[in-house]
Amino acid sequence: MNETKELRSGIYNKGEITLDEIIKSVKNNPKIKNVGSIHVFTGIVRESSKEGKQVKSMKIDSFDDMANITIDDICESLKKKNGIIDVKIVHFKGDFSLSDDLVYVVVGSAHREEGFDAIKNAVDLYKKKIAVWKREDFIDGTSKWIH
């Protein structure tokens, strides 16, 4: 009897899930024997904004219902590709300090080539599509929602 429940992709509060738990969940996939590589992308808070302003902290807001639907769509569409066994996307919301983890994407693939393609794809898709917004709070006291 395996007591580990499959971990649901989607929006979580900051720190509610560890990367380790997501990888363990991929390792519990019934098709894990077909997996030869596990790929991980972790987005973290960088100090320098795109315009070069110095970031002090970050706020992530999410329309959970819509974001969860889109995250599931992205994972399911990528799992249909040849050699992609599992895809998990966990995006956090809340208040973040420098270098805090914002998002985890984990892909289990038969061979590494498919895995590299799929994780890049997954990141591009969640950045464009899921109903999540980030606000950079700068050291000069100003703030900006990024679009």
Partner: protein
């Protein structure tokens, strides 16, 4: 007729609320947008295009978790209890 607006990102910062109920007399989105802009000045620039005539191209309208597409979004009908979200372009972390 009561409808509920869900606020995210800038809208949450402006209103300091997660959601808010509005009582509409007409049944279309335009009345709701007018009420929002009347109550919250900074929403004008976010919601309307430069001529203040139609919804900004940046805004996606979601009603009951369904995206609304089409040319004339302002004239779509709303129903009692609808949950409306007005979304600016997303920016995942």
């Amino acid at each position: 007729m009561l409808v509920e607006v869900l606020y995210f990102a800038e809208f949450k910062d402006i209103t300091k609320k997660d959601t808010e109920k509005f009582d509409l007399s007409s049944k279309n989105l335009k009345e709701l947008i007018d009420l929002l802009i009347k109550k919250y000045d900074p929403m004008l620039e976010l919601l309307l295009d430069k001529k203040n005539e139609s919804l900004s191209n940046n805004i996606s309208v979601i009603v009951n978790n369904k995206p609304i597409h089409g040319q004339d979004v302002l004239s779509i009908f709303l129903n009692e209890g609808d949950k409306i979200a007005l979304l600016l372009p997303v920016s995942g972390g």
